[in-house]
């Protein structure tokens, strides 16, 4: 178990290393001048050059990269133009917001978590439940309705669903406030009221995909011999299906769920833009619009971290669900 974990983590670190190299290379080899965006007025060539020197932009690329990585793990001095010493998870300094990128992240990551975690619970429960039920009730009206839902849902667009929800609940029925983020610890009720539309919109789209997937998986499993054997030896329906079949059917879904949740944590860009909630995704969009390179770079890294971690979690879950998988 431990050996497996270490192996996976090493592999994950390797991937992250590659992602960081690609991201770094992309930003710093391109001739876009970060300094020009920093000093808007009264800039002469001499002053620009001095700033470049101070920011280390004239150093060899390799030095800049090692400097960045060192900053992430032990912190580093960014120089007076960038707010001096930058503490341990140092992800650089945002010239646009005039604060350290890690401070921005500390503010927006809880927002994205508040959107994704409840939404994921909702979409997994709804999607898998719907898929399993419709597989068991194959050919009935319920099954047809579930299929219709998953078909249309999978072709819907997040911003369209989100917009329709806004029209109905915020502007017509007026039973919900316009979406916003309030800290869960401050007021759980406002937290839920402000984010519920985002959860529903995300859950609607994802559960459509999951319903479809789990229905197909369940149908395949139900046709297996061992399920028939289980029934034949006298197990009740709920035991044979609930225990034997469900377990086998759910394994591939775990993989996809892990990737989706990991991806969503890296920024629910569209959801946050649709509802105007300032999370990681919207921060990235704004950073792009304003040319805030250090923030974009850090967002790419952090979302890759989420995906890599999600992958490791999926592998561990596999071992729990599927006894055939031996870690080692």
């Amino acid at each position: 178990m431990l050996r497996f974990l270490i192996k996976r983590m090493l592999l994950g670190t390797l991937t992250l290393f590659a992602v960081s190299l690609v991201a770094f290379g992309m930003f710093f080899m391109l001739p876009r001048d970060a300094v020009a965006t920093m000093c808007e007025k009264n800039c002469n060539a001499e002053r620009l050059e001095r700033m470049r020197d101070e920011l280390g932009l004239n150093d060899p690329l390799l030095d800049q990269y090692t400097g960045y990585v060192k900053g992430v793990f032990v912190g580093r001095d960014l120089g007076s133009a960038q707010g001096g010493w930058c503490d341990v998870p140092c992800l650089g300094y945002s010239y646009i917001n005039n604060e350290e990128v890690s401070d921005i992240f500390a503010r927006v990551i809880p927002v994205t978590l508040s959107i994704v975690i409840p939404a994921a619970i909702l979409w997994l429960g709804l999607g898998i439940g719907l898929g399993m039920l419709s597989a068991l009730k194959r050919g009935t009206v319920f099954d047809r309705l579930a299929i219709g839902f998953s078909l249309t849902g999978a072709s819907m667009q997040l911003y369209f669903v989100g917009g329709i929800l806004l029209i109905i609940f915020v502007y017509t029925l007026k039973i919900l406030p316009p979406p916003r983020y309030v800290s869960l610890w401050e007021s759980p009720l406002d937290w839920a009221a402000g984010l519920v539309l985002a959860w529903v919109a995300l859950a609607f789209l994802f559960s459509a995909v999951y319903a479809r997937l789990s229905r197909a998986q369940m149908l395949e499993t139900l046709a297996e011999d061992y399920v028939r054997t289980a029934r034949a030896k006298g197990l009740t329906k709920s035991k044979a299906y609930g225990r034997h079949a469900l377990r086998a059917a759910i394994t591939p879904i775990v993989t996809i769920a892990g990737l989706d949740v990991g991806g969503a944590l890296g920024g629910t860009v569209i959801t946050e833009t649709t509802f105007g909630i300032q999370g990681l995704g919207r921060t990235a969009v704004e950073a792009v619009r304003l040319g805030d390179l250090s923030t974009i770079m850090a967002t790419v890294l952090i979302s890759a971290v989420f995906i890599v971690v999600a992958n490791i979690v999926v592998d561990l879950l596999y071992a729990v669900i599927d006894p055939r998988v031996r870690l080692g």
Binding site: M26, F27, L30, T152, A154, Y159, F160, V288, R289
Partner: protein, 333 residues
């Protein structure tokens, strides 16, 4: 996996069909012909196929539609816009003249902009799908057939590309690439934006097809016909593209047809976020992002543009499903 079986199942249980009369003599039919017949019997696929065709024709013939409709995509009808920048009249300014109403603020006709938006969207989505499929086929076949270190490298790149968060990465790539070619104050040409988007999709999209093709080739390369070709001295090129490729058309066609709606969605998403197509060019994503600003006063703008893209994606998805059932009957359960 298929959802269309609901339509085909009753046919299979058709009581009138049960006593199989000594039917007409068996006629040999090619697999392609069989698939075509299965496709034609699938009602969902037929209907969605027509809808798809309708959208494609509408997009291709956009200038003709403009001529018949009498209004261009850039024409502004400021006299029909109230002071609060919302269109006059009901339902976002729907009238005999403006079928889907007018855009708030600028007062451009929504219908003709959607028709031209269809054109933008389909152009990008089909080119991206063609490019990714071609790349996926070549890399997948090469990796699968040659194996060894080439396979290892390509497989690692595929895994690596899957670990990159697409939207975030796209957010980062678009402005940096643009900055490489244009100054901060320059106007960016529309064809350039379109090309960058297609390339971006290609960079990320080929992995799916490549992985699929590779898997198929790994099992095909041990078959006798490949051995026979090799024994009779066929070159690598001949084995890859004359012997192996013809066996792969079914899965390739399926992934291609399901890739197109994926790219339609992706293109709209990028433009929605403001990093794809930008305003004066008619585009779904741009229209929806604008419509959200006016969602309180003019919800119809969102509903019209959202419905069109939904129907477009739905038609492509349903047709892709039907195609899969027809080409790969085992997949339908």
């Amino acid at each position: 996996m298929s959802l269309s079986q609901i339509e085909t199942e009753p046919g299979g249980l058709d009581p009138t069909a049960v006593p199989v009369a000594p039917g007409p003599a068996m006629v040999g039919r090619s697999p392609g012909r069989l698939a075509w017949e299965r496709l034609r019997k699938n009602r969902t696929a037929v209907v969605s196929g027509w809808v798809m065709l309708f959208f494609v024709l509408l997009g291709v013939a956009a200038p003709l539609v403009e001529l018949l409709y009498g209004i261009g995509p850039y024409e502004q009808f400021q006299d029909k816009i109230a002071n609060n920048s919302l269109p006059l009249g009901y339902l976002g300014g729907v009238s005999g003249e403006h079928w889907f109403g007018l855009e708030p603020r600028l007062g451009r006709d929504v219908f003709i902009r959607l028709v031209y938006g269809l054109r933008t969207s389909l152009l990008i989505a089909t080119s991206a799908a063609l490019l990714t499929t071609a790349m996926g086929i070549v890399l997948g076949i090469v990796a699968g057939y040659l194996g060894g270190w080439i396979d290892a490298v390509i497989s690692w790149v595929i895994d690596f590309a899957l670990a990159l968060p697409f939207l975030i990465f796209a957010l980062a790539v678009m402005p940096t690439v643009t900055a490489r070619f244009y100054g901060p104050r320059d106007d960016i040409d529309v064809p350039f934006r379109i090309a960058v988007m297609i390339l971006l999709f290609a960079m990320f999209g080929w992995t799916g097809t490549a992985r699929l093709v590779r898997g198929q080739v790994v099992s095909l390369r041990e078959r006798e016909f490949v051995e026979a070709a090799r024994a009779s001295g066929a070159g690598l090129w001949h084995i890859l593209f004359r012997q192996l490729l013809p066996n792969l058309w079914a899965p390739i066609l399926i992934t291609f047809s399901l890739a197109v709606p994926g790219y339609i969605t992706g293109e709209a998403a990028l433009s929605f976020l403001g990093i794809g197509i930008v305003d004066p060019t008619p585009d779904f994503g741009v229209m929806i992002s604008k419509s959200l600003e006016f969602i309180d006063g003019d919800p119809m703008y969102l509903i019209f543009s959202g419905t069109v893209i939904f129907l477009l994606v739905l038609a492509f998805n349903l047709f892709g499903d039907g195609l899969r059932d027809a080409l790969d009957p085992k997949s339908s359960r």
